[in-house]
Symmetry: C3
Subunit: 152 residues, 3 copies
């Protein structure tokens, strides 16, 4: 074998790690959906880099302030975040990735609520970083594309 | 090579098989959606372990009884099962996996039907087992999260 | 090693390439959604084989004519194409694949439009070919399954 040329084995390992990373990255938005729909903010916290930030519907916030905001939100009704497959950008061996995820968020109010149920067309643009063995959202931009009431 | 240590080749094979299994598992809910929307109950049957059970909207049933129930359902209108990416739990080399899939089920009635069209927010929690070269749903829990009429 | 038997290394490479192809194929519908929702017809063009054809809501057209039709469409309101995970058929080492993708297309009109917003249940059946390092849609059949107005 010539010095300086990557061996087939190392090429293989690098591609395999890339594929494994893709699977881990694909889980992130789905884990977010389940955590936020369960209002399990500790589970949401595990998906975000504590040094990161979120640029969302309520303005820009550092991750700890974003999580505090979620914890303080009034608990009426429920939500369901139904997500498309994220479009994932990740170079082999890279420590950061970009996810672009389409979502429809259903907002279901209690039957007695005067507010109508709603559906929101959302897009999550996430800069994700590798931290140890995990991938964490370092920066999320949540874009509200449209919203409409749901019939009841 | 030291006895008892896995060789790099076997690590590679194991990870590759895991990745291949993930792809096979990811297909399961999508194949279910197409089979059920086509009312092809034989195709649905191929996705379930005949020794398994389904805990669904019409109670708990062994798989054969569940399939009989599907065959007996009145055939009015059509459905479309639009699914998010399943959250897949599978350990390398394991013979069982868990899938957690969000779905919106659209129920479209014939134009003359007095019943409104509907949309259902569903969650499928599947225990899946490897049977030979295939993965089959051994136990499915279908959870109806919410439902609303669709405008016409 | 026996002559004529594939070596473990080549099996590995072939499976790894298959897994990589699956990831590339999975991106295609998501890239289509973003391109068409942005009305970036040049980006749409990059996903289609120029020698291919599209059998869609406005009849059958060669890809260049299909793209011209998109460019000529009146620009009122916006769309959001929310897609399920494609069901991908690809044999190891093959140069063509088949994708079957469920979609809900939201059509949002400007507030002053007399036309209601709509949601369409769609299914994209794509024959995809490998062209150099890329995968391109050689033939797309777009099937409109149902459509309903959205409440406003």
């Amino acid at each position: 074998m010539l010095a300086g040329r990557p061996t087939p084995a190392s090429v293989t390992d690098s591609t395999m790690n890339w594929l494994r990373d893709i699977e881990a990255l694909r889980q992130l938005p789905q884990r977010y959906a389940r955590a936020i729909d369960a209002r399990d903010i500790d589970a949401v916290a595990q998906l975000f880099d504590p040094d990161g930030s979120v640029d969302g519907l309520r303005g820009q916030a550092a991750v700890p302030a974003y999580l505090d905001g979620l914890r303080a939100m009034p608990q009426t009704g429920s939500t369901m975040h139904v997500l498309g497959d994220p479009l994932i950008e990740l170079d082999e061996g890279a420590g950061e990735a970009h996810l672009d995820t389409y979502a429809i968020v259903y907002q279901l109010r209690p039957a007695e609520s005067p507010e109508p149920d709603g559906m929101l067309g959302m897009r999550y643009l996430d800069d994700v970083v590798r931290v140890g063995a995990a991938w964490l959202i370092h920066h999320r931009r949540s874009v509200l594309l449209w919203s409409r009431p749901l019939s009841r």
